[in-house]
Symmetry: C2
Subunit: 408 residues, 2 copies
Amino acid sequence: MSHFFKVKTLDDVLSMTRQFGPTDSETVDIRSAFSRILAQDVRTSGDMPGFRRATMDGFAVHASATFGASESTPAWLEIQGTVPMGQVPDFELAPGRAAWISTGGMLPEGADAVVMVEHTQTIDDTSVEIYKSVAPLQHVIDANEDFSSGDVVLAAGTFIRPQEGGLAAGLGLTTLPVHRVPVVGIISTGDEIIPIDQEPAPGRIRDINSYALSGFVQEAHAKVICYGIVKDDPDLLQGVCEKALAETDMVLISGGSSVGTRDFTVEVLSSLPDTRILVHGMSVSPGKPTILAQSGTKPVWGLPGQVVSAMVVMKMVVIPFLHRIQGYREPKPLVRVPARLTRNVASAQGRRDFVRVMLETGPEGVTAKPVLGKSGLIRTMVHADGLLDIGENLEGLEKDIVTRVILL
Amino acid sequence: MSHFFKVKTLDDVLSMTRQFGPTDSETVDIRSAFSRILAQDVRTSGDMPGFRRATMDGFAVHASATFGASESTPAWLEIQGTVPMGQVPDFELAPGRAAWISTGGMLPEGADAVVMVEHTQTIDDTSVEIYKSVAPLQHVIDANEDFSSGDVVLAAGTFIRPQEGGLAAGLGLTTLPVHRVPVVGIISTGDEIIPIDQEPAPGRIRDINSYALSGFVQEAHAKVICYGIVKDDPDLLQGVCEKALAETDMVLISGGSSVGTRDFTVEVLSSLPDTRILVHGMSVSPGKPTILAQSGTKPVWGLPGQVVSAMVVMKMVVIPFLHRIQGYREPKPLVRVPARLTRNVASAQGRRDFVRVMLETGPEGVTAKPVLGKSGLIRTMVHADGLLDIGENLEGLEKDIVTRVILL
């Protein structure tokens, strides 16, 4: 069984998201909708704010009554009343008159602007001097200025930030249609892996990956089910895989970083019903021994067993992939910040390299300092603030170049 | 009651975090510790990985036995056996011999390096040719290379990312001491504000702020209790404030953007027992009418009622503040990305201005385009991807300048 032709670039793998549909939609309380993805367009059912609203404390006026007013030649207006907060004024503003109004208040019929209190002087209970002219709609939000009835204000595929949630609240939506949170199954494999609450005998090592991968999945606002540690036995792995596929939306199998066990994961995946291998090897370092299969409609990943490789593949490929199957309209961009490299970094052509770096802010800006140490050392990821991204066509990056570092 | 002397800069307000202690600590399952803050230093209780471990498939050797080996003059070694995964080899490697080993396997006593399988040729069951010399510890992680026993590997105040969680798992920690998640009480005030499930009569507006502010608090990994809408009545507000202070770690009162109601919030806060006003006005736009009080040991914020102002103050001040009282060792930096400004933007000296911008990625990099529209319009925050940050000493920013935009 040869899959060598299935070695893909990172971009190839990301574009395979299209083969997998997004999770279905569900309706949730608006308070639970933050950080989720809108599943349908949201339209306004009315104008917003729906009435002409003051944005300053002062006097509601006919703007034309203030034209030419200044410190030396103030306009004199009769005070017709006070606008009560939260209520419709019970009067229409007569020409040449003014009404006291607070921020957020509704302009009386006839008024089209507000003069800030700072530019007025109340003479007595019935009259006020205006020292500055205002234009129509100055210090006012018009009835449909935020949104007009029928506008699509939030499109399907939008990530719901605080402001999108606030807008929905303003529209009176107590619930929102969002994509269901995907459930991700995590399986750790390897005869040398033991549960974390056990003391490892020499030659054995605790199950770091189940926990580190769970952290990434949680960061992507998805749910985790851990299926524990499976010994290097095809029948056992097949059984656990089938269970995980039945219970989740996506399965991650970590381990099998050696040539023998890598083939073993591919064999197990190939023998599952209705399953095909899409990727067998990725031209990314660290992270080459990555496998992607499609089982029925669901993605199954074989991740490198090596901790740093598994984490780089999660960050660069699996999490963006998971964002897409949550219904994101556009891929959520990774956050990149510019930093000056403190030393030369070598790379191989034909391979996308990700190098762990520490970021330090100094007087001359941010520098990126490569973290030394083998990629089997989790400490190198703990010390790292970001990843240098060295493209396939480069042989490395030179000292002092300013490059955009992906934040970890 | 004049508080005009309490107008502060944004940096002054942020530095006031020191007056408030972090939340106490609690011990949680490691799976619940992601995105929380470590409350104590974590030390290793043993070496990690604890044994000499292969990082490649190949042959475990004495490095010295391979010196000078090349394609034309291979070294010839006798195969002594195979290292079983997850077990201690039951033999010591004799001089001039090699043992088959998989990635992750434990080197036999005597071996100090691994030759990659690609650089070997097995002649028969008992002998192998080596085509490349290896240095001592090449393709090997030494017993204490990740961590040595007794090292502080994670310091109190560390934000727990996937790698920190993975490291803790590797150390056998099933629980971690973390700062308790702060509980934030949110109170909306204003006679014109109605619950979101009601149809607003003209002059009234739905309670956007309770929801938008909840979104920010959730983003900062804290919990929200909403105390609903309180009419502009000092006794009512005082009662709800006292209840919220008793039940939460920090209180946010939104509303009162007009001069009258702003004073009213200050009066209510001043009349609470053991409470003093620390900030009354902040030299930030939008966001000037911001109040910070200390009631007992707890912070109480009076936020502008205007939606955009309230959100800017949350993003720039309250959330960083909330990070600090969660025990962050260093303030979590805001994410800033460089972008070229598409037009001149004016600002006033002596005031820190935050201008909403859309980010667009084009062939010449990322541009920042100011979002037009009054700051009372929530749409302007929904359309914005980030905030321009214009310092107190600037009169604006010029078209085509490259500036660092704070991501929203």
